[in-house]
Amino acid sequence: MAGTPTTTTTSPPPVPTAPGGRSGSAGKGRTAGSRYPYWFYLPAAVLYTVLFVLPTFASFFFALTRWRLIDFQFIGFDNFVLFFREPALVTGLVNTIIFGVVTSAAKVVLGLLLAVLLTSHIIGRGLLRSLVFFPVLVSTIGVGITFTVLMDPFDGLFNQVLGAVGVDGPGWLTDPSLALLSVAAVDVWKGVGLATVIYIAGIVSIPSEYFEAAEVDGAGSWRRFRSITLPLARPATVTVIILSLIGGLRSFDLIWAMTRGGPGFTSDVIASVIYKQYQAGFFGLSTAGNVVLFLVVTAIVLPLFWWLNRKEVEL
């Protein structure tokens, strides 16, 4: 190791000689705080610029144009004015928030309960853990189409079962007041596995000494859950909330597969409003919509993330 300083790149000896012997040229390629010379960053920087920076700025630009793909006309902020006057937008905005909050809350509660169950000494634990995760792996569109069939108000399995026990099942996806919540329920079923896995990891990492000590002190099971599991699984809760909220706010594929925003506009979310504008050929307008969606998600998630993490530090 020490005998071949010239061929090893990681050994310390060449480092002091470089600034001393070639300080002029080395100073250009390397700054004090940087770990690598600049050229080392170049491939990643080029990729990053081409794939992320340019499209982002291009989208900010095209949001200001009436864009027909083959040509465009600069129209300033008209697209944003038009987008905010979009009749479906208010419904879409409200629905987006309802959908994000409902699915996120349900995933937190159900995920935690399932994780507590699946970290207990239950028979077939490994199998049960994978079963709850399976829906996460299935294609969203496939899940959507399957549940659309199951939720058919007349021939669907759900209402046939309900009918067999004498209950008149609702139009899950055709009743304007139910459609969005039905889709949210399917989204929870599909996504709760991921929340559960995160919670399992969080709960398993809690040292068992705490539980043993609490038991010796006479704490009941509710008390142990309330005072040990819940606070110590907090990092998992933060992760689940952030992930499922971002997922819920930009959710599109499941809603599109199940209701296409219908009946009418009643289950439209911002993403489906934007998609329909894109379909209609309003490319500039839908790009402006995406910029708005980006800002909305950022405006909700960023403060929430900061707030949740601050509480964690205080703990």
Partner: protein
């Protein structure tokens, strides 16, 4: 998903064709003169059309029959989904220069929305252009250029009705809205659904509004012109609100089939054929599908125009045939363009009409001189002809004005489901078309 698999193919086709052209000019120089094509003289064209019958059947039949008569041209067909998803594919592929060599697409306002003057090759000087029916020719014209050959027949919008139900209840075909509602009352009393709606297939919800255009234009003849110039609005023209109002009326009266919110368009066709429902506002282009699924419908289902206020002005709203177009990218290759023109000449000829008739009974007259309808068409199509003969027809608004909003189908679903009132819906639709008009850069918007 279908689109993704489809997009790869034409490029490879273009490459192969280009390679073949290069090879042929190198090997057999002089023997073929300046004409393009491969070594054995064949040219391959790609041709895209909708994936639902009758379009899917007609597209394939045209390609097959043309190839049988012209062995030197090979046509590879591909299909795309209908509705707005299809619009999206057509627009994107045209803009990226990735479109098939020929494609079938709507005439009228949707044709205007693909910027024909920039993206399509004009066919104005082709000999068959003179034999096109005038309304159709106008609907594939942009600026001074004609861009399309007719794909299939024209068709009508109105009401498909079950003739057995009418016979049993002793009803007459209505010519006014009052008569129609009176018939509905008797039909409901007999325990049959008076009006079928199928919001599982959202576009079907638009018929009460779109097929009412004949009634609108007979009452307000300047509507299309003023509407295009942003001078007339749906919400402020009583005759225009009427279509929305009728839809609301049949819902409020409880005349709809129980499963209207989830039923699909094919369910609706089955219900009217079986007499479970009496009326289904529809386009006659669907008759072929209906007869295929329920053969008895050929005799049992008839057709009448959507009734308006005045019996004397009763007439149909006519939809013009779709067009077959050639993107400018095809015209850059002269061998291909020549082959494409020969295919178009076949499509716009009596032989082309026969090809279409062979696989799908026509839903109305063909817009080509010399094309005739077979004698054994279904009853619903027979019922359309008298309206044309009496001149009691107007082309639908989408063929006389480029302004058509993309959200009409969602709006009419809301009206027909009792979520939104007719007046509110008309105002909302006015707002919806504004975006389309601005995107097209129409003056006055």
């Amino acid at each position: 998903m279908a689109a993704r698999t489809a997009t790869g193919r034409p490029r490879i086709g273009v490459l192969l064709a280009a390679a073949a052209v290069l090879a042929s000019t190198a090997c057999s120089a002089g023997s073929l003169g300046s004409s393009g094509g491969t070594e054995d003289g064949t040219v391959t064209l790609t041709f895209q059309f909708g994936n639902e019958p009758p379009a899917s059947l007609i597209g394939q039949a045209l390609a097959d029959d043309f190839m049988a008569a012209n062995p030197d041209i090979r046509i590879e067909t591909e299909t795309r989904p209908g509705g707005t998803e299809g619009d999206n594919i057509v627009k994107t592929r045209l803009a990226t220069g990735d479109m098939t060599d020929l494609f079938a697409y709507n005439s009228g306002s949707l044709f205007q929305a693909i910027n024909p003057q920039q993206q399509l090759a004009p066919l104005t000087d082709e000999p068959w252009v003179g034999s096109l029916e005038e309304q159709f020719r106008n609907s594939v014209t942009a600026g001074n250029g004609v861009y399309g050959a007719p794909f299939g027949s024209s068709f009508a919008g109105g009401v498909l009705y079950n003739r057995n139900v009418y016979q049993q209840l002793g009803l007459q075909v209505p010519t006014t809205w009052e008569q129609f509602m009176a018939n509905n009352a008797s039909i409901e009393a007999a325990g049959i659904d008076p009006v079928i709606q199928t919001y599982g297939t959202t576009w079907t919800s638009q018929l009460f509004v779109l097929a009412d255009y004949h009634n609108l234009t007979t009452e307000v003849p300047t509507f299309a012109e003023d509407y295009t110039a942003n001078k007339a609005k749906y919400a402020t023209t009583p005759a225009a609100v009427q279509g929305f109002q009728h839809l609301q009326d049949v819902h409020d009266a409880g005349y709809l089939n129980e499963d209207f919110a989830s039923a699909t368009f094919e369910d609706g066709l089955r219900q009217v054929a079986a007499g479970e429902g009496a009326h289904f506002p529809m386009l006659t282009v669907t008759v072929a599908t209906m007869v295929e699924n329920s053969p008895n419908a050929a005799q049992d289902v008839g057709f009448f125009a959507l009734p308006g206020n005045d019996a004397a002005e009763n007439g149909i709203t006519a939809w013009l045939a779709a067009g077959v177009y050639v993107p400018t990218t095809t015209a850059e290759d002269s061998a291909k363009f020549e082959a494409a023109k020969r295919f178009l000449a076949f499509i716009a000829s009596p032989a082309g009409c026969e090809s279409a008739t062979r696989v799908a009974p026509p839903a109305g007259p063909y817009p080509v001189e010399g094309c005739t309808l077979p004698a054994d068409v279904p009853q619903a199509v027979k019922d359309v002809q008298p309206y044309y003969d009496q001149g009691a027809s107007s082309p639908a608004l989408e063929f006389v004005s480029p302004v058509k909003g993309p959200s009409l189908q969602q709006i009419t679903v809301e009206v027909g489901s009792g979520i939104r009132s007719a007046a509110d819906a008309a105002a909302l639709y006015d707002q919806d078309v504004e975006k389309q008009a601005q995107q097209l850069g129409l003056p006055g918007w």
